[in-house]
């Protein structure tokens, strides 16, 4: 039974992946004009023919796609070609080696920061539900949740970077070059992506917690004389957290999109920048592989959501009949 479910999920996963990547292949190959003259504007006629063969542009769509899929699965993400180099190209996986850790660090910081602030806030607001404090903070959170992250980013850059001059506005500093500087360079990007999520998460947690607080076992715990803080953390948080966890996992995937813009605003040169630059310079193989990676990440996070549902609140699994 378990195996069948796993196989079903895997089959769905593979189907979506194949459709997504094939659609991207079609889109990329639809490009009018000769890709070679964009990638290598000054190549000689012989080189052009060689590059056409190398990029597989002579093959028909299906063969081109299958070739790409084969090398993608074996970890060969294609090459990034530079119009000024000798035309041999840099492996995309090498560039990912530089870009991906930055983006993953950023996303990690964002998710940790937002949960660390959102969970206590959400529990507190639920505990104080319908009071003046709750109303004011909830309305402020609503406004914050609807701010676009680049608006937050530019606002922060203006305030903390330009006006107060506390933090550097541009550039990334690796941990190896000093933890303090690294944190400084990541603070504003992290905050730009976190503030909206803090608002979203705490609002979700507040609603679910209010519902949980009405359950009998809470009354029971409180009649046993347990402290409010203990009840909130030990009894109420877990059953109230499934929506927040779902939202967190889904937002991890959506963060990839947000990270693209924020990386551009703060010049972090992460995965998002790599994708943007690849698209701007029409690096076919790179674009295909990078978007496939994004789609895989997205689907993996969705998968985690489904698994989390059952783990966090076992009652959900039985309710949903899965």
């Amino acid at each position: 039974m378990r195996l069948r479910v796993a196989l079903k999920i895997l089959a769905r996963f593979a189907t979506v992946l194949v459709i997504v990547t094939f659609a991207i292949t079609v889109l990329v190959r639809l490009l009018p004009g000769d890709p070679i003259s964009i990638l290598f504007p000054f190549a000689t006629e012989e080189d052009r023919i060689r590059y056409r063969g190398e990029l597989g542009l002579n093959d028909n769509l299906v063969i081109y796609y299958l070739n790409w899929l084969g090398s993608f699965i074996t970890g060969d993400f294609g090459s990034y070609y530079s119009s000024t180099g000798d035309g041999s190209g840099v492996p995309v996986s090498d560039m990912l080696g530089v870009a991906l850790p930055r983006t993953m660090l950023l996303m990690g910081y964002v998710i940790v920061t937002s949960l660390v602030f959102a969970i206590p806030l959400g529990l507190y607001l639920a505990y104080r539900a319908e009071t003046r404090v709750d109303r004011w903070i909830s309305n402020a959170l609503f406004a914050l949740a609807s701010l676009p992250n680049f608006a937050v980013g530019l606002g922060l850059a203006f305030l903390l970077g330009v006006q107060l001059n506390w933090l550097p506005v541009l550039g990334y500093v690796p941990i190896a070059d000093g933890l303090g500087e690294h944190i400084k360079s990541m603070t504003m990007p992290t905050l730009s992506l976190s503030l909206g999520l803090i608002a979203t998460f705490s609002r979700l947690l507040r609603v679910d917690t209010i519902a949980t607080l009405k359950e009998d076992f809470v009354t029971m715990a409180s009649s046993k004389g347990l402290s409010n803080a203990w009840i909130l953390w030990r009894h109420v948080f877990r059953p109230s957290s499934s929506t927040v966890m779902t939202s967190a996992a889904l937002n991890m995937a959506a963060l990839i999109g947000g990270a693209v813009i924020i990386e551009s605003v703060f010049a972090l040169n992460g995965f998002g920048m790599l994708l943007t630059v690849s698209i701007a310079t029409r690096q076919y193989l790179a674009i295909q592989s990078l978007i496939a990676l994004v789609a895989i990440a997205y689907m993996v996070f969705n998968l985690i959501v489904d698994l989390l549902y059952a783990v966090v609140d076992p009652r959900v699994a039985s309710h949903r009949g899965t």
Partner: protein, 285 residues
């Protein structure tokens, strides 16, 4: 109760701001302000509240207020078109999927899942890169930027609203009055139009407001990445154009940011308000 308390202030403010934006979008040409793309070389980079330029100018000498007014037309135009077309197509697909079930449902749901497995910004970025001025030798070739942006954002909206329409339609097809309509021999088509569609519309409207906000944000994001409309034509491309002057003349960047933020907040508020009204109505049915 929560409804009656929250409605007044937020609703009035949101309506007021969206009203101003709509009036600017429609009647902006008649306002006593300079052209949005006119260069005033005498007043380059003047600050807020300068004579003749209420919100100042940027370093090209274009009037910021004129840019915001014209940007309202572009940004809201893109948002409204994408959401209306997207919800028509998505809504039709979603309702048909829910009502027909079977393989139709499987195919449409698969399409929604595939489309939703690529982040919005990435999808639109690829679309814009591929379809607008694809040939570096001839930048005028290809579709106009605005059209490509509208089409790609419509493609983003279709699965979002389609999923909502499908799940909403699914809950309504199970209701007793649909069963009754079927048993008295109404055709499926007329059940669809008289019983399902009118009930699906409100929840689509609620999400439609949120989707319009998403469109405006994505448009701004595209502009920051250099894939937006012509420089200065929309709010997004205004801030993208003036972003590097943030430290010298912050008003040129911050004002379009505020315009985008207020609009998205107002749209989200509307969406939230409509949703509360629907919940309220459904609990009474």
């Amino acid at each position: 109760m929560a409804l009656s308390r929250r409605a007044p202030v937020g609703l009035v403010l949101s309506s007021a701001w969206l009203g101003i934006c709509l009036i600017s979008a429609i009647f902006g040409d008649f306002f006593p302000i300079p052209e949005w793309n006119a260069y005033d070389y005498e007043n380059v980079g003047v600050p807020l509240f300068s004579p003749g330029h209420l919100l100042g100018t940027d370093f090209d000498g274009t009037d910021i207020l004129a840019g915001i007014v014209h940007g309202a037309r572009t940004s809201l135009g893109i948002a409204v078109t994408a959401v209306v077309v997207g919800s028509l197509i998505g809504g039709a697909l979603g309702v048909v999927a829910a009502y027909r079930r079977g393989w139709v449902d499987s195919v449409i749901t698969m399409y929604f899942n595939v489309a939703l497995s690529i982040p919005t910004l990435v999808l639109t970025l690829v679309m814009v890169a591929i379809f607008s001025s694809p040939n570096l030798d001839d930048p005028s070739a290809g579709m106009p930027r605005e059209l490509v942006i509208v089409i790609s954002l419509t493609l983003v909206i279709i699965p979002i609203l389609g999923r909502i329409a499908r799940s909403s339609a699914l809950t309504w097809t199970g209701r007793d009055f649909v069963l009754v309509a079927e048993s008295i021999g109404m055709t499926r088509r007329s059940i669809l139009w008289t019983h399902i569609v009118p009930n699906v519309l409100p929840s689509m409207m609620s999400v439609g407001f949120l989707a319009a906000g998403v469109v405006i944000v994505v448009e701004g994001g595209l502009a920051i990445l250099g894939a937006g409309t012509d420089p200065g034509a929309s709010w997004g491309s205004m801030l993208a154009k003036n972003r590097q002057d943030l430290s010298i003349l912050p008003s040129t960047t911050i004002i379009p940011v505020i315009a985008i933020a207020l609009t998205v907040m107002a749209l989200n508020y509307f969406g939230d308000y409509v949703r509360l009204r629907i919940d309220d109505r459904e609990s009474r049915i």
